[in-house]
Amino acid sequence: MTETTPSLGRLTVVELRKLVDTRSGRWLLITIAVLAAVVATLQAIFSEPGDRTFANFYLVSVFPVALLLPVLGILLVTSEWSQRTALTTFTLVPKRHRVAAAKVTVAVIASVVAVPASLAVATVATAASSGEWTFHAQLLWGAALAHAIGVLMGVGFGMLLLNSPLAIVVYLILPTLWTILGATIRSLNTVAQWLDTTITTAPLFEPEMTGGQWARLGVSVAVWALLPLVAGMIRINMREVA
């Protein structure tokens, strides 16, 4: 045991372990996997034969993952406060931004790992329903990127609010509210094109993305993920831990 600062790699391993070492953590991961498998099964049973393609199975299995990964991102941060482990964590690692950075790394790892999981689900569903093996490569990193954006928004909201139920509710309601407002109020429509992540992340699943679409995606990510992350890190660094 040395007197050097714990490396980011070591802290990331610890944070990964925290993700799976409690029943609640394991159940969240199992729920995500089961939901992905269930929606793919439903698609295999109820869709038109022509729609039973590898790409379609993959896309439906990505959807529940995209919905729940941000919750995982939120809990990754807020459980330290709800379970009061923050006291132990930040006593062992007083440079709190390092713990926060490790949590961000874990969030990104989770979004990348989710892609092969969806591929596996799609493979089984396609084979079982004798579907067509059509696919385009952008779906791979499109999903990884969409997951990463969602889970980082979750981590950011978690860091900013430091309260599990509040962060989950705000995360789920705010963007939806935004989508509804953007769709109903005309003057907000243009703004929504730049700030509604539901709209801006949609092109990630298209074969091609235009420069304008990238720009709009970038702006929305800066506002909904980067801003909360930076503000949240500042808050965690300054906040009293009791």
Partner: protein
Amino acid sequence: MIEITHLTKKYAGRAVVDDISFTCRPGTVTGFLGPNGSGKSTTLRILCGLTPPSAGSATVLGGAYRDLPNPARRVGVLLDASAQHGGRTGREALTLACLTVGAPRGRVAELFAQVGLDERAARKRVRAYSLGMRQRLGLAVALLGEPEVLILDEPANGLDPEGIAWMRTLLRSFADRGGTVLLSSHLLGEVQAVADQIVLIHHGRVVEQGRTADLVAGGRSLEDLFLTHTASGTETTP
């Protein structure tokens, strides 16, 4: 070595820690006493970099706790035994701490033996732990990196008489080997038995400070001293 210098902490203009100064030297145990809400825990939290002070300073081993690269290696801390995830087993909680600070995995079994938690206890979830067991687990985390300083907030709470005696021996031998111990406690008899030095605070201010032997001279007990200073009847109005 711990140095608290003119430390003040104000919340909404009200000082909960008010110009406190004291020093803890290697080889000694310091008993940090005071009624509930007198500012003990706040002082210890400031010392461990968890709460920023309003004025003054609190240093350990010559610098700020937050500047220690891997604090567990040099300073063992137990501030709240209940600050553990209830869903983790005792062994998992200690393993996480070991991984975090880079202690060898073999340390986990060693520490459980040292703090008197058996195999069955290690496998239990912390939720099912009694307060005494949590204190022992918290102490295991504090002892993890074989530190030279121990900062403990009410570590004897919830321990049975045997546990209290065990804790006394542990702290005494830690100090006798050159370690520095700062502990807060409500168990005045215990503190009197183990502490070389007493710091008594009330309403955030130091009201009595000195060597235990001097303070309890002439047949006076630490309890008499404590009550003299903290009983509401003797409070002076500013």
